[in-house]
Symmetry: C2
Subunit: 141 residues, 2 copies
DNA sequence: TATATTTGTATCAAGGGTGGTTACAAACAG
DNA sequence: CTGTTTGTAACCACCCTTGATACAAATATA
């Protein structure tokens, strides 16, 4: 399987829930729209639940709905809630400590990595789920 | 999936070359510092060569050196030169076009993705290889 | 020219992450 | 009590990244 698309799936699912207000939506319905398996959606909903973004109910007439208003959820929260890939990974195996570069490169890269992550969070936090939902609605043809 | 550490490796290798000025450095020597296989390094150098960041020579006394001064190379160029992972991937399988959300969500996500990428490039472009080299040197203990 | 060195590249194996699928217990409405 | 739906475990298939071996091509040096 290719790169990690959980963030995309999460935004998609949450936009669906935003559209349906307080109505419970079944994982099967979400899976149809995302074009995947219901279990994959439920796995994702589990993560979103832990982040207090959705609430789910078992049993007949069960399903999921948003835990908060769409304008109180921003994309940065969603990004943090799911297992997203990193912008770039640090060395798989630690560099040689016998080399003046190898000895310190990890610390420098780690510092840059944190700065990039901060930038991503900052940019994502500018969008609320409501914004995204409206963008999707406006694109409706 | 094994996380992609090519950007980290690339910065590491280029910092090594920056340290050695115009001297040819062998892939074997670079591999020792990075703590990996020489072929892995040569694969990476091939990409950096295509991006006009390094020059390599075959044969005895061969090796690689920077194609430009370290202060004329910024991290954004390096990021673009290597096969880095994406911040997040779009849907693996296209969402359902029968759903008002599914129909347009990809376009919206694509738009956000491009904005995030732009932000990353902007932040990375603030660092030159010379900056990184100096940060590593200063951290020397 | 002959030799040793080094890169460039093809190929294969190992390891691990991601998503797809099935199965089943638990919760819940009616 | 019955049917529905979630939560979760287990397993599989696919594919990406890295590690490793092998060998041709290029090149400096004797």
């Amino acid at each position: 399987m290719a790169a990690n698309s959980q963030f995309s799936m999460a935004v998609h699912v949450l936009a669906m829930l935003a559209r349906s207000k307080d109505e419970n939506i079944k994982s099967d319905c979400l899976a149809s729209s995302v074009n995947t398996n219901a279990v994959v959606v439920r796995r994702l909903l589990g993560q979103l639940n832990q982040a207090n973004l959705v609430v789910s109910q078992t049993g007949a007439n069960g399903g999921s709905r948003l835990a908060r208003c769409p304008n109180e959820i921003n994309l940065s929260e969603i990004y943090k809630a799911v297992n997203c890939g990193e912008v770039f990974a640090l060395h798989a195996k630690s560099p040689s400590k016998d080399c003046p570069i190898g000895k310190n490169i990890e610390a420098v890269l780690g510092c840059i990595h944190r700065e990039i992550d901060k930038g991503i969070s900052e940019k994502l936090s500018r969008y609320t789920l409501q914004n995204v939902f409206e963008m999707v609605e406006q694109g409706k043809s």
